[in-house]
Symmetry: C2
Subunit: 137 residues, 2 copies
């Protein structure tokens, strides 16, 4: 499995944000198939005295066709989220995207329309600063 | 846009089933982006005295990784279905797959799990006979 070019960036950004990386990658096994989500992490959320558990799929959006990248990201997110509902029901899946993609592309109607009908949770990160900018629930 | 290798097969199968092909492809325009669904068709359904309108995305599942093909098919279906809700709310989107893929792969837990949480409408076709075998609503 080829790692996304921003895999390490997101890992560092999550760690800076207080997350402990628990799986790199997280394996989802179903029947005779294994699929791999980029990262899994957890963090003690003091306010609720609970360890919040997440899984993160990193998507670079560096292909010539942003629409093709969007389709690929959606397909992976929908598949992984469905498998996780059975195997890790307490764990929340996020799609990690760069700030530039969030600002320039995720504001376009093609993306806002699809997100209106398909709630995808998103982490926006700044690739240079290696920091998380925004969580979209 | 590269046509799927079974594009003509599905077109013939739909025509044999009494459908009139109205768009090849069907263009969905959103903001400054255009995306293209393989086919659109309509048929007079006598029982309800209405023209039923459909759009069909053909997926061959001929890549080495069936899981990657599944992700791609899901991503396209979710994107197109979302855009159609706004632009063609009366038109129903189907994913067209070969009988072999339906029997050998779509019965696997990885597919049944994702279809349990994401209702995808499916047309199953026989590629040799150029006929539609089954509609899954």
């Amino acid at each position: 499995m080829a790692k996304d070019i921003y895999h390490e960036t997101v890992k560092i950004a999550l760690e800076k944000d207080g997350w402990i990386i628990t799986n790199d990658p997280l394996t989802l096994s179903v029947g005779r198939r294994d699929v791999f989500v980029d990262l899994a992490a957890e963090k003690l959320i003091v306010a609720i005295r609970k360890h919040k558990q997440i899984a993160v799929e990193v998507k670079s959006f560096i292909n010539p066709s942003l629409v093709k990248d969007l389709e690929n990201a959606l397909g992976q997110y929908i598949l992984y989220a469905s498998l996780m509902k059975k195997q890790y029901p307490q764990r929340i899946l996020y799609l990690a995207i760069r700030e530039e993609i969030f600002v320039d592309f995720f504001t376009e109607e093609i993306v806002t329309t699809v997100l209106e009908f398909n709630p995808v949770k998103i982490i926006v990160f700044n690739a240079e600063k290696e920091e998380i900018i925004k969580w979209i629930e």
